[in-house]
């Protein structure tokens, strides 16, 4: 008999969307590995060149911080964009709309660049559900996401309430 762990592990590892080839992360993994988790909106956008690469940098005004500390605005970098006449395309990088509410799992590199964790995996739109609770939404993904150890991740999908996220972040032992 083949083990459950084996196939789940395999499917997890195989659930890759290249272009950007990503490895799917569980919510707990994203919570643990992110430097900051913030809610807020992008207020301005510009293309910048760092080294050989063009990034789209968003100035993100933070309304609420769930993990990590200040500042209240941060510069969020997404690979690819337009700088002067040059355009760098990476098939598969997300774009933020200005003045729209997002929850972002931020990962800061050693050189101090703020990325969205897992490319767009750590980017959620924020809104209210029918019960009036604040919810995070990410793509139309199904619940078929498993983590590296082969466990199904129930909360990786469509909707998650802010309260649930707060509970999980605290559960992860992160001090606000």
């Amino acid at each position: 008999m083949r083990s459950l762990t084996l196939i789940l592990g395999l499917l997890a590892a195989a659930a890759i969307s290249p272009a950007t080839t990503i490895e799917r992360m569980s919510m707990d993994e994203m919570i643990a590995k992110s430097t900051r988790i913030v809610r807020g909106e992008a207020v301005s956008v510009e293309g910048v060149r760092r080294g050989g690469m063009i990034y789209t940098d968003y100035t993100f005004r933070v309304q609420e911080t769930l993990k990590g500390g200040p500042p209240e605005t941060l510069r969020l970098s997404v690979p690819g964009g337009v700088h002067g006449a040059a355009r760098q395309s990476f098939a598969g990088t997300p774009a933020l709309r200005l003045s729209r509410e997002y929850v972002v799992f931020v990962w800061t590199s050693r050189s101090g660049v703020n990325h969205i964790i897992g490319l767009s995996q750590g980017l959620f739109t924020a809104g209210l559900n029918e019960a009036g609770e604040r919810v995070l939404r990410r793509g139309p993904a199904s619940s078929h996401v498993v983590d590296k150890n082969g466990k199904e991740v129930a909360d990786s999908g469509v909707e998650l309430t802010w309260g649930e996220l707060v509970r999980r972040v605290r559960g992860a032992g992160v001090v606000r």
């Binding site: 499917l11 040059a86 598969g92």
Partner: protein
């Protein structure tokens, strides 16, 4: 001619020129108009701007900071090279990528290229790739496109993931896929390498599918692509309106799928189809998954007002309609079948999509599901979005095979017992099932999904390696099973040379490796399977024990920008010559390496006028061996004037020993003079027979063998940079008649003229040893004389000819011999 235009001007020209390049494969697309007809402007490399249509790729020298256990930078670099060069196997694409050397982060260079760099990337990101353009629409040789300035392929600094070591199928396929992005390809939904890994049916052993070949060929077509493949074209309409970004797929029941995406007006062209008949279906793109971009996993086409969103979801439709593949569409070579239109029905959203299929070999899961001909019950494990819940398949889900010779066994599709949210189907494969990919259809609540390449039928299981023995006299013995099925043996990313083989044993000469290096060994068959599918690829190692690495010397070691020359590369201390080398900049192009001895190579290079002054590091590769030489070549600013032979401007006509070659010389301050121009070829003085401005014509000394020769030149005492010529075999010469005689051997001119109708003998030189009587003809003007016999002699040939009765009497006729289209000079033969 090359022009850069403003958008409006480009558009006007587009409309005037018409379009030959309208391809619908998923490329990086721009549309210059807001309204139809929409003509895609594709992003691609300008191959006309680079010598030899070769795009160099560079690898960041330091490599990743962290690697998986047992992995090494050298092993990774060999896999990167192998993955890059997968794209060179496409015969219908003109593009060739070549190793350009190693670079430091932020290296400055000018020419178009691909850079593979290692960077700190956020967790959850495995690789990232894409082109950079300068926003300019360019017209060249009648096509309009957006030229790629450089492409980046970013791999993480941390490559320690044990699931993705350098020798894994997974990393290799990821790099092949990412390389596809750097060359101008986006995602497609036909199970090629450019699909996402979820639906991909390619393997390391068969890394490209027909869809990938069509996609790259549509960007860089050869004449053969245009003439020998056909197209299917048409439109996808919903309520009379074109559907943007519908995917249209052509496939055969036992073959690979080829696809195209529709333009904003619903038009599409599927190019690159082998002649034959195809089922064709249109389907909506699945929604982007978590972590993928929204709304679909594409960099959306850019219109004048920004990204153009995809059209709405619809029910999958086979041509000419319905959800069942009943009709076929014929494709002829060089022709477009343009009548394949779809009228599709809207649906709320796409629920069924992204099916991934597996089978197990022991404990190893393999994708796609490989089944063997004759297998009475082969199991496929799968997961498809929208198809299952925690306890098994969603009620009403059905799976069917796409006109396959296999049989889907009862109960059809059911829960995979160890993990019921995953599904299983069992198939019976007939003994005579043709090898190749198969497709499956899934249906639920009126929605149909096709999974192209859901499984693959092979003749046998993958090769199995049991032991790799240490090398004896440079030969490695591999023991196992099924080792003879079109075997290819990879040591990390480079193939060994099979000396002898049977099903149980292979004797292989490994590719060159570095002393002490442990290379992972896998055996591949001709069906895309490998021993790594059974053992994970980690198990078998060959350890190299072969002395040190040589020191390298490059001559000349100083070059100004803007010249062409031939470098002489010598190795000291070990006898290896590189198969590939590069100076780590796209401004020094290596167009050819000739191995001319155990320690010596000639390297043809061109230095761009824009090359930056400074020292360059040489990187050399052969097999999985890698070497570097610091400061191997120094570039001066172009103000340092050096004479050079413009090899790139030399006529394409063959040159050969005994023939002539015209040598254009650049950077002269005055015209050439015969007296002050000297040439030596391979050290032998070659007479300069003429000069004309900047061009010297030399006679190539007799006796030089065919192949590359080194050319050295001085002009007014100043040395010209060395150059190379490739000598062909001398062309055949016509035969020469040296004497015409009576059969007694008396010369006819000496008062013994023959009569018309008499036989004479001709003494001839320059006929091929093997010249046969029937190959040799004799004429004088229009009159043909009969060749009776051609006979070999000590000094040439004797040709016996019966003079025609129509030979004019009382005069000398100009007698010639013809053989293989070559005619001798006339020899006067007096007639009585």
């Amino acid at each position: 001619m090359k022009r850069r235009w403003g958008m409006g001007f480009a558009l006007a020209a587009l409309l005037l020129m018409g379009w030959q390049d309208a391809s619908g494969y998923a490329h990086f697309v721009r549309y210059l108009t807001k309204n139809g007809p929409f003509e895609p402007v594709l992003t691609r490399f300008d191959l006309r701007s680079v010598p030899g249509k070769r795009i160099p790729y560079f690898i960041e020298r330091r490599g990743p900071e962290q690697l998986a256990e047992g992995d090494s930078r050298v092993a990774l670099f060999s896999q990167i090279q192998a993955a890059a060069e997968v794209w060179n196997t496409v015969k219908t694409s003109e593009l060739r990528v070549v190793f350009g050397g190693l670079i430091e982060a932020g290296a400055r260079m000018n020419g178009p290229r691909v850079e593979i760099v290692f960077d700190e990337v956020p967790p959850g990101l495995v690789a990232l790739a894409g082109p950079e353009v300068l926003g300019e629409v360019t017209e060249k040789d009648g096509t309009v496109f957006v030229p790629i300035v450089k492409s980046l392929l970013i791999l993480p600094d941390n490559m320690a993931d044990p699931a993705r070591p350098s020798w894994s199928e997974r990393l290799f396929q990821t790099i092949v896929h990412e390389f596809g992005h750097t060359l101008g390809l986006q995602h497609s939904w036909a199970s090629g390498t450019m699909s996402t890994e979820i639906t991909r049916a390619t393997t390391k052993g068969a890394p490209l599918a027909a869809d990938d070949v069509a996609g790259i060929s549509a960007l860089y077509p050869t004449r053969e692509f245009v003439e020998k493949t056909g197209s299917i074209a048409g439109r996808v309409l919903m309520g009379g309106q074109g559907v943007h970004l519908a995917s249209v797929v052509a496939l055969k029941p036992t073959g690979e799928a080829v696809s195209a995406l529709t333009a904003p007006d619903g038009r599409y062209v599927i190019r690159g189809l082998a002649p034959g008949s195809y089922s064709v279906y249109a389907h909506p793109l699945p929604p982007g998954l978590a972590g993928e971009p929204q709304p679909v996993n594409l960099d959306l086409p850019l219109g004048p007002d920004g990204p153009i969103q995809p059209g709405g979801a619809f029910d999958l439709a086979f041509f000419p309609g319905g959800s069942v593949p009943e009709h076929r569409v014929d494709v002829r070579e060089g022709e477009t079948n343009g009548s394949v239109w779809f009228s599709v029905q809207p649906r709320q959203q796409v629920n069924l999509h992204s099916v991934q299929t597996y089978r197990f070999f022991g404990q190893q899961a393999v994708k796609p599901a490989f089944l063997q001909a004759g297998q009475e019950r082969g199991s496929i494990v799968l997961f498809g979005f929208g198809m299952s819940n925690a306890s098994g398949p969603v009620a009403g889900l059905s799976a069917t095979l796409f006109q396959a010779p296999e049989t889907l066994l009862a109960p059809g599709i059911f829960a995979y017992a160890p993990a019921p949210s995953y599904l299983q189907t069992d198939l019976s494969v007939p003994e005579d099932a043709p090898p190749g990919l198969r497709h499956m259809l899934f249906r639920l609540n009126g929605e149909t999904h096709v999974a192209p390449g859901a499984y693959k039928v092979t003749q046998a299981q993958p090769p199995a390696v049991e032991v790799v023995e240490p090398a004896v006299n440079g030969i490695v013995t591999i023991r196992g099973k099924r080792l003879d099925r079109g075997a290819r043996v990879l040591f990390d990313g480079a193939a060994g040379q099979i000396a002898e083989g049977s099903a149980e044993m292979l004797q292989v000469r490994p590719p060159r490796g570095m002393d002490g290096h442990a290379a992972r060994v896998s055996v591949f068959d001709s069906e895309g399977q490998s021993s790594a599918m059974l053992d994970g690829g980690t198990a078998h190692v060959h350890r190299y024990e072969n002395g040190g690495t040589p020191a390298w010397r490059v001559e000349p070691a100083f070059l100004p920008a803007g010249v062409e020359t031939v470098l002489e590369l010598t190795s000291e201390g070990a006898d290896w010559t590189p198969a590939k080398l590069g100076f780590g900049t796209s401004d020094v192009t290596v167009s050819k390496i000739w191995r001319v001895g155990a320690h010596r190579s000639l390297v043809k290079v061109a230095v761009s006028p824009a090359a930056e002054a400074g020292p360059l590091r040489l990187a050399l590769a052969d097999g999985i061996a890698f070497a570097e030489a610091e400061n191997a070549l120094n570039i001066y600013p172009p103000s340092v004037r050096k004479l050079y032979v413009v090899m790139s401007a030399m006529a394409d006509t063959p040159v050969y020993a005994g023939g002539m070659a015209a040598l254009p010389v650049a950077n002269l301050t005055s015209p050439l003079f015969l007296a002050t121009t000297q040439v030596r070829i391979n050290g032998v003085a070659a007479p300069v027979v003429a000069v004309n401005g900047s061009v010297a014509t030399v006679q190539i000394p007799e006796g030089l063998p065919a192949g590359v020769v080194k050319l050295q030149m001085t002009v007014q005492g100043e040395e010209v940079l060395p150059a190379a010529l490739v000598l062909s075999l001398p062309p055949p010469k016509p035969p020469v008649i040296t004497a015409a005689q009576t059969l007694m051997g008396l010369n006819l001119q000496a008062g013994m003229p023959p009569a018309a109708g008499e036989m004479i003998q001709l003494l001839v030189t320059g006929l091929a040893e093997s010249a046969a009587t029937e190959d040799v003809k004799s004429f004088s003007g229009e009159v043909e004389h009969t060749v009776i016999l051609v006979q070999k002699t000590a000094t040439g040939h004797t040709v016996y000819v019966r003079l025609s009765e129509e030979s004019p009497r009382g005069a000398a006729i100009p007698l010639t011999l013809r053989v293989d289209g070559l005619q001798s000079l006339p020899f006067p033969v007096p007639i009585r």
